[in-house]
Point group: D2
Chain length 370, copies 4
């Protein structure tokens, strides 16, 4: 009798979820999958609002009813909000992990307890997962879900959001292609990728770019202009250039400025504009720049990302059930796996300069500016 | 007998077609429709390359085989190329018609004769059609097809390319919407429309914009910021602003600079960036700008434009058959009609400030910045 | 003092809105626009669920908070639900208006009063608007918003949902085009349009169809096969056929069966399959059919429809404010207008057989099967 | 002197390429990549038309100029044509390899020699690659590129065309979702997948399906109906069912009929219709079916597939350069590799019933009908 009553009164298992860093397509799909998979086990899910900041006073949360996940699979952004600033943030980036102040960690842990959470799902990129890792080391049971539109996170073959960003950039290239050709112009598309050129090289190949500039391979203007000239000679009077925001001239420096972790904002006068101007000056051709910027972050996920996010979300809940804290779900095709978060953060997955993608570009006669 | 032989040897009727001004989605669909409709009548079609400049030495043309129109219905740009510069161009815009030098007209007419053309289909906007009108007045049998992505041409309810540009801008708004919401930001989208705000107000309404700035209605920053504040008060912590490139502050001046007809290029430091910066300064909120630029011109036409272009192309050939020279095809729903070219050029169709679109925006609580 | 108190206690104006008949893209966008435009005037809006049936016992309604219209602009379907069945429905179609039983009308009027409504916005096609007209004649203050994906409603140049349906059908044609060409096949696409061929002829032209079969022009198999043969002769070994579901052989009968108003369902063994089989038999070529069916109804609206729906919704609220009951909003480009509902219902707007669309098709060498 | 002259007159290396089996998005992108990568090495490429049949009298070929690959990256279908029939075809499928007649092999080899080919790139699925393998065993230097929209080929993590097919099916689910919800209906979408349910389960998860039926897991109607009832109970009055064409009732048989290799055609009265009817009968709810059929094959590739195809094409040329005949390019993320063709053919890669995808579906409360 007592047992029965106790069981009926027993609080349901409750887990939390938050999204951190810059938003990207698929965050909501992860949230939905976590909430649904948790509900399937009889757990309830609480959303933490505004990234980790939502765990500090004033604590901000949102109950996530598994019956009301309508529309989340396909929608962009994050219903939980996110944050790049505040007590947790710091100048991380490029493996410079930083120590979160002890009182901030203590406050987060206190909120975790007060909210009655058994585990926390942290969805984010390098910066966000670095914070998660520190909280885990201080005893908080966290599991991670890897998100970057840049795909520069180690320990997973791909991060969600990346396919959507590439699709956006490729679509932009398709558009610029027709207008470049009609007007015999050089068109430069600047895409995201401060330290890694995954979007640039993927979209560049998929979108028929003629020159692809990535941070991993410093470029020389004479090589770019040689490509323009070579095309001109063969009767193709236009050239499509894709430049990662972090592309830089050999011997040169980053044009984009440093910014707090996760707050990278493409500047209108970034590398794309610089490259376009220099090409125009050197070749005498009309050159125009298009900075894709936030368009890459916005909008709903591709179906590839919708599937990936759902797999990741479900896997995160399984990871909690197995007690796999301090770990992150990852894709190791054809399956999802889990890896220690520490394998993913603090270093950067860059495009291998002698790898398959770069080789494909070279094989097709695409210039990498070197 | 002689008659029969004469007829068999008679040269086929040959017409020419050229595309002028900035490119836009649907130009190829018009070319395809003209070529196919001409072929149906037993005529052949010759493409003039590079706009009107293709009629000057060295004359550049391209035979258009009606069997090889594959892919033109859906592709962006123009296979004929276009030109904004050269002997025909001049500072037109805003009704300032200019005189084409007599020798240029003579050269064009000579080419017309030498090419054996019976008529010329001119596809373009205000600048291009102004040239066509002058050539017509000097005796060249031309018919016009109205093209602008800005929709600012008189005498037709709509121009082709406009629906595609609005679709592009609306899609961009959808993307910015999710990222603005996730980050509690103000996002400013700058779209085309130097003198008329058709794209801005159409995409602004279709894309759920909160503030729409058009050239027809000078704006005040305090009104824009009041809208931001009002939304904030009601719990909506983000705001979407759509600004036509020609939007300007009440009492202010155009930020964009004058450029030769058809060569308008969105500048990265245009009105969008100015507005974003001012809003950020006044409200303390994060504000970002996205300049859509050439993306609006590029890519394939929407199905609406594909249909419209095909109707226009077929109607242009009928117009030639009827001898309706000096006229332009136009859409007067539900049908196509023809109107004198002179009714279309030299003035600008702006958004009526007390019309249905502006009223719709106001009814929905969208601020027009006034 | 009393006046002040009275005003403060005065009930807010409340209007109702319902959606009837088959769903189509844009219904939610109309709902959103009505709710927002009403809120701007200080009115509140009540949603009636399940079409007119929601006004009968048990009355089913849903308060529509203007702050919670997020996502409605872009989403498909209708949050209000709809109904093709029940006490109001009857075998209408083709102008056969029917009498709604007096007790049903009385019940609807009683609900209207009980709900405290000042007006009712009815969003629907011929069947739904016919009911609205009868209720108006019995004293209920209704205004209409014209919806059909078929575009066969009189008194408006276009209905919302149509552009979205055409876009869906055009996209399908693009897909069938590539596979037909790769396999040298005849592909038949069956689209909606029981009595009017607007979707078929619009998508057929926009999607590069070779044969377009519409209810307005009975077809002959020998004419269709002549087109297949003619293409074969010119080296084009595939043919795209677009057939409206109501297309029929000259002298033949409708293949699709009669169904209650609004409940038209494309049958898999409909005219498309019949035509494909007959072509295969007569020409010896492989022929395949694709029945687009509900895909045309589903999904979000195009940006064209999003704009149109918003204009319609705002105009409907203005119509109420002006007391224009018994009227329907309509598009008379470039503006919205209002017309008596009775001008729209009870007859069908078919494709003019000597109009611009049919002429365009013929000009391009597209066969209409006659 | 002689040497120099001989070298100058030496014929350029020439390779051939053909596409076989059912068409799918990305074939042209592979062709383009092969031609461009070959040209980069100074080789020329000859297209064999109509699949392997193009190598039999009358031999049909098409020179592929690397300068004229415009539009191939994005277009659907195959410019080389394909074939499912003829001397090479046979009832293969499910690992039943068949012997190609010796005289057919001899004829193909003779053509290969006569055309002066150094190698042949064969792009196709199980059937086509089985033929390639036999030709290789008889001495022809072939390399393979794996294509199936079904993704049921062994030895590669993914085949091209699959992502595009899943995107098409997911988009269809999005559309059916809104109409199902508006009308409280059960909608059944039948997708490709005769022996393997990859499309069904991937699109089913990505598109928010409620029931997913795949060949690997025989279903029971009572389980499906239990899901419908369970949703009804929780207030969700609609259900989305995704059925692979090869799905079957536990203890039942395939509804689709056997067909020659590669000629599988979805039948309108296939499993989808059967399932819809049975659900309607058992639950009393309205149920509709949509057969996606050829729409999945048609249209351009997704950007994912555009990238994959380009990587595959470039890798195939590298494989030839390395003399890796009898091998096939494959994706082993994050890189492309090559594997013996024999590892890929003659068996089927089915969805693991205890794998990550099925588990994800179960975790989310999606019924697999078992």
């Amino acid at each position: 009798m007592r047992t029965e009553k106790a069981r009926m009164n027993a609080p349901r298992t409750r887990i939390g979820i938050l999204t951190g860093g810059g938003d990207c397509p698929g965050l909501n799909a992860v949230v939905r999958a976590v909430v649904k998979a948790a509900a399937k086990r009889g757990w309830e899910t609480l959303g933490i609002l505004g990234g980790f900041n939502g765990m500090l006073a004033p604590v901000r949360t949102m109950p996530l009813d598994y019956q009301k996940m309508d529309g989340l699979l396909t929608s962009g952004g994050t219903i939980l909000g996110t944050s790049n600033r505040g007590p947790f943030a710091a100048k991380t980036g490029l493996g410079n992990a930083h120590e979160i102040p002890a009182e901030v960690i203590a406050a987060a842990k206190a909120s975790f307890e007060a909210l009655g959470l058994k585990a926390l799902v942290v969805v984010g990129g390098d910066g966000t997962l670095s914070i998660a890792l520190q909280l885990f080391r201080h005893g908080m049971p966290v599991v991670g879900v890897p998100k970057t539109i840049d795909n520069d996170l180690e320990a997973t073959v791909i991060t969600f959001g990346f396919d959507s960003a590439v699709a956006c950039a490729t679509d932009a290239l398709d558009r610029l292609h027709t207008t470049a050709k009609s007007h015999d112009r050089v068109m430069v598309l600047e895409v995201m990728g401060r330290y890694a050129g995954w979007i640039a090289i993927s979209a560049g190949i998929a979108g028929g770019g003629d020159v692809i500039l990535i941070p991993e391979i410093p470029f020389r203007y004479d090589r770019i202009c040689a490509q323009v000239a070579s095309r001109e000679k063969s009767g193709k009077r236009f050239t499509l250039v894709v430049a990662a925001e972090g592309a830089r001239e050999a011997g040169g420096e980053f044009v984009t400025q440093d910014a707090p972790c996760g707050d990278r904002e493409t500047r209108l006068g970034g590398i794309g504009a610089v490259v376009a101007e220099e090409i125009a000056k050197r070749t005498g051709k009309e050159a125009r720049v298009c900075v894709l910027g936030h368009l890459q972050r916005g909008g709903g996920p591709t179906c590839f990302d919708r599937l990936l996010c759902t797999r990741f979300g479900a896997a995160a809940v399984r990871l909690i059930a197995e007690g796999g804290f301090g770990r992150m779900v990852a894709l190791k095709p054809p399956t999802t796996v889990s890896v220690p978060i520490e394998q993913a953060v603090g270093r950067l997955k860059t495009v291998p300069v002698d790898g398959d993608l770069v080789q494909t570009a070279r094989d097709l006669g695409i210039s990498l500016g070197d």
